[in-house]
Every structure is written in structure tokens, then in C-alpha cells.
């Protein structure tokens, strides 16, 4: 167990991989805002946000701020192969889209599908603000 005691208790978040299309999402995250895609033509939300709507291919997409609340759709705690256990999850936002994320600041053994969560922001290794979720 000594090896586990020396290991960090919280996984370090890698820096995001950002391209010209996704930069605005990360710029918003830097202001602690979570963006999702919304289409002016078909009216549907989408995630991840992108220049052309994945539902109707309209180029009239907006990147709107989500309320930041949702429920756990599914999750898994990685118990092996990482310096510290971490929880990956899909969270279904109240706006209807489901996003891949991490669950933090929680008892990994008490997580449950359907649990209410809210977005929080945690710094990556290089200081980017990364949206993750925690029990509401």
C-alpha cells in the first residue's frame, strides 16, 4: 500500500487540444462558462458544438451558455493504470445534450446514475479551466 500512499490522490488534468473551431469553447471555459451548440434553423441543441449543425447542416449555429446542471447518464471509476483513480462520465444537461466529462470532489463509491450534478471548473496542468461536474 505504500506505493498508493505516495501516489497523488487527485488525477492531474491534461491540457486540452484546441483547434481554431473549438477555441471559442475553451475561451468561454476560461471565463467559467460551459457552451453547447444551438441551431437557429432546426432549433435543436447539439454537443459538442461545431460550426455546422450535426442535425440539419445549417451554418447558422450559436454557441450558447448552458445552465450547468444535469444528471449522470453513466460513469466509470478507473481503478487501475492511472496514478490516481478518476471518474469519467456522461452527464445529460438540462438542455438535453449529453457530454463526456469527469466527476470530481465526490465519493467515488457513492456515485449513481441519475444523480444531479453541476458544472465546476478545474485547472489543467498548464492552467486551462476545464469544465467538470460535481454532485449538486
Amino acid at each position: 500500500m505504500s506505493k498508493e500512499q505516495k501516489a497523488p490522490s487527485v488525477r492531474a488534468i491534461p491540457d486540452p487540444l484546441i483547434n481554431p473551431e473549438s477555441k471559442r469553447w475553451w475561451d468561454a471555459a476560461g471565463e467559467q462558462r460551459l457552451l453547447i451548440g444551438a441551431c437557429r434553423d432546426c432549433g435543436k441543441h447539439h454537443f459538442y458544438p461545431r460550426a455546422l449543425c450535426p442535425h440539419c447542416m445549417s451554418d447558422r449555429t450559436d454557441w450558447i451558455q448552458a445552465g450547468g446542471a444535469g444528471v449522470i447518464y453513466s460513469y466509470s471509476v478507473m481503478r487501475r493504470g492511472a496514478p490516481a483513480p478518476y471518474a469519467i462520465a456522461y452527464v445529460t444537461l438540462d438542455e438535453g445534450v449529453t457530454v463526456l466529462t469527469n466527476l470530481v470532489d465526490c465519493d467515488f463509491d457513492a456515485l449513481a446514475i441519475g444523480q444531479r450534478v453541476r458544472v465546476v471548473f478545474r485547472p489543467s496542468a498548464g492552467g486551462a479551466q476545464v469544465p467538470v461536474f460535481t454532485p449538486a
Partner: protein, 388 residues
């Protein structure tokens, strides 16, 4: 145009190695190719079509055609991960039916075991991959993506860890007869549940092996197949279907096999009730369960009950699966299990499986696979094969 009956698998070879620190990836491709051509009774100079996927080094078919010294007039490097080679069988049949080639060679090889690959580590990606911008920081590896599918399936349908474990138990029953299998020990449901949790709810024994190795297939037109001294295994149906996150409408309980399977069965004119042997890509136990449901062997949500109590063990259950031991026990070369699925189906149809696991008078078989990541974006491919 249907590919039904337009092409036959006349060569199938699984490289016997599971650890190849002293061989190159191209060499393993070539050794697999030679094995499949020898199995068919054909030579390199007969090959005029070549198929490979992302495991092939360099510029895929350009590097490999040159390395192998082939003189081909048709190439295809469709890459949908581990199910690519199942799709390649169908693509080869399409090319043959269209007159673009007569003898198609499909190869796979890789050395993930020697190179230290692990399903607990995120795969390399780049900023140009559109999803990476929104996913990379979260640590999606192979194991935890599939684990989320299992977690959701359990939540919606009451599937249990014990039921998933039965899939591994069945694979181990088959692997004990395969001298090349990495894991030949029989395991019990209790053994699976006692193995360490890798990513909730999947245990170590819910995960496939990491092995070096390779495999190859030779597909040809009916006239050539009938001129060769091998049993006649013909393709009668095929389907393929990619599935992703659908703009945020994520549903982890079903796979593209829902569509690839339906298309393949429709083209073949048979139903799951006609099938006694199935090769089902088993990257993880949950991968098998979801595909069996999606192919129609049982209703959605009934997979746990279907696989329990030895129902996938040859000679015991309703549906023999992966009688070579599958990826769970035998081999998962290049971290891509599609080609070994087709190879074991061919063995079954030829009557060349190990006698302890051979399905009596096996005349129909399905081989199906999921490539990529079941939890995010994957490609399903299904073929139905018949002994003529």
C-alpha cells in the same frame, strides 16, 4: 447489387505468435499473408487486390504492397478499428463482383504487447480530431469507455456482473483446447468477480488480452474457389454501420450492430434462429452482450439472461461463440480483433475447429465486430458465411 454468393473465403491464417519482440509489424503482416495463401493453395502472384487497415505501417497499402512485392490492381484501406477486417471481407466481395480483382488478400498485424500498450491508457490523438477538443482532458481510455456502456446497461436492464462474467467463462472453456491461446486456464464466475476492478463495473477478466500477432484472409471469386482443394466457404450477407454520439443524443445500450446485423441477415436470407456458431468481437464482455442483443439473438435488455449458465459454450449452450477462446482468452493482435473473428468462423464452417469445440455440421456462421470505441464512436461490421 448484392454480394450474396459472389465471393468465397479460401484462405485463413492466424499467426501463432502472441509475443513477437524480435519481429517487425510488416514482417508479421507478411508471415500472416504467406500463411493464408498457403492455406488457400495460391501464391503471391495470384493476388490482385490488397486490403489493410490502420495497423499497417506507413501509408498502409502503399507500404505493404511494396514490402510484400505484390502486383495488384485494387487496394482498400478502410479503417474502422478492430472491425475493419470484417468490413474488408465484404469490400473484397464487392470488388470481385465488380470485376476489380480476382484474388483479394486481407492482412492485419501488430505488436501492442511488445510495445507496452494498455487499455487503461488514453489513445494518442490530436487537435484536428474534432471530438478531441471536448474529450481529451477527461481521460477516456479503452476500458473506461466500454465500462460506461456496461454501467448503463446494468442500470436500464438489471444486467449483472455475474452475467457478464459468464461470457469470459465460456471463452475460457474454449481456450483450454487452443494450444496457442494466451490464457488457457478455465475460470469461473467467481474468478472473474474476484479479479481486480479495472474500470467499474469491469474486472480484469472482463477485458481481452493484449497480444502481438497477426492474421490474414484470402477472398476470391466462385470459379477460382471451386478450382481449389479447400472447403467452400462463401459470403452470403454483409452489413456495416458507424455509430457516434449523434450530436449529444448519447445512448450507450446499443451498437451499430443493430444495423450491420440486420443488413447482413436480410441479404443472407437467414435469421439468428438459424445460427449455431457466432464469432462476436470480445474486446470486453459487455461488447459481446450488446452485439448479441443487437444482432437479434435475444431482445434488447435480455442479453444478461441469454449469456448466463453456459449458453455460449460449445456443446453446452444454444449458441457457441468464439471457439478459439476469442480476444478474452486467445488473441487480440494489434488490439484489433476482427480478423480472428472471421478466421474462427471459417474454421467452424470447414470443420477444422478443435474437435472439443467444433459445432456439429456447422453450415452457417456469423462474424461480427465493433471497432473504435463502443462508448463514443465505433464502426460495426457483420458478415454471414455459409458452407456450400
Amino acid at each position: 447489387m448484392s454480394i450474396r454468393g459472389k465471393a468465397y473465403i479460401v484462405g485463413a491464417f492466424e499467426h501463432p505468435t502472441r509475443l513477437a519482440p524480435d519481429k517487425s509489424v510488416a514482417q508479421l503482416h507478411a508471415e500472416s499473408a504467406r500463411g493464408a495463401l498457403m492455406d488457400a493453395g495460391l501464391s503471391k502472384d495470384d493476388v490482385d487486390g490488397y486490403f489493410c487497415a490502420g495497423d499497417a505501417p506507413g501509408l498502409g497499402p502503399l507500404s505493404m504492397v511494396d514490402y510484400l512485392g505484390l502486383n495488384v490492381r485494387h487496394i482498400d484501406s478502410t479503417d474502422v478499428g478492430g472491425s475493419s477486417y470484417i468490413a474488408h471481407v465484404a469490400h473484397a466481395a464487392q470488388a470481385i463482383a465488380a470485376g476489380h480483382c480476382n484474388v483479394a488478400l486481407i492482412t492485419l498485424a501488430g505488436r501492442p504487447r511488445s510495445e507496452g500498450s494498455s487499455g487503461t491508457q488514453p489513445r494518442p490523438t490530436s487537435a484536428n480530431v474534432p471530438d478531441a477538443a471536448f474529450e481529451f482532458p477527461y481521460g477516456l481510455a479503452t476500458a473506461n469507455g466500454y465500462a460506461m456502456c456496461a454501467m448503463r446497461h446494468m442500470h436500464e436492464f438489471g444486467t449483472t456482473a455475474e452475467q457478464l462474467a459468464w461470457i469470459k467463462v465460456a471463452a475460457s472453456h474454449h481456450a483450454q483446447h487452443n494450444p496457442h491461446a494466451m490464457l488457457r486456464d478455465l475460470v469461473s464466475v467467481e474468478d472473474v468477480l474476484a479479479s481486480p476492478v479495472i474500470a467499474d463495473p469491469l474486472h480484469r477478466l472482463d477485458c481481452c488480452v493484449v497480444s502481438d500477432g497477426g492474421g490474414a484472409l484470402v477472398v476470391t471469386r466462385p470459379e477460382i474457389a471451386r478450382s481449389l482443394n479447400r472447403p467452400h466457404v462463401r459470403l452470403i450477407g454483409a452489413g456495416e454501420s458507424p455509430k457516434g454520439q449523434r450530436g449529444g443524443d448519447v445512448d450507450l445500450t446499443w451498437s451499430g450492430a443493430r444495423f450491420s446485423g440486420a443488413a447482413a441477415f436480410e441479404e443472407a436470407g437467414v435469421t439468428p434462429a438459424d445460427i449455431r456458431y457466432a464469432s462476436v468481437y470480445d474486446s470486453f464482455t459487455i461488447t459481446v452482450l450488446i452485439q448479441l442483443e443487437d444482432l437479434g439473438f435475444c431482445a434488447k435488455g435480455e442479453g444478461g439472461r441469454f449469456v448466463a449458465d453456459g449458453n455460449l459454450i460449445s456443446g453446452v449452450g444454444r449458441l457457441a461463440f468464439n471457439t478459439d477462446g476469442g480476444g478474452l482468452c486467445n488473441n487480440h493482435p494489434a488490439n484489433r480483433g476482427g480478423i480472428t473473428k472471421v478466421i474462427e468462423a471459417v474454421r467452424q464452417l470447414r470443420g477444422e475447429a478443435h474437435p472439443a469445440v467444433q459445432v456439429p455440421d456447422c453450415a452457417l456462421a456469423v462474424a461480427t465486430g465493433i471497432g473504435g470505441q463502443l462508448g463514443t464512436r465505433h464502426g460495426a461490421a457483420t458478415v454471414i458465411l455459409e458452407r456450400e
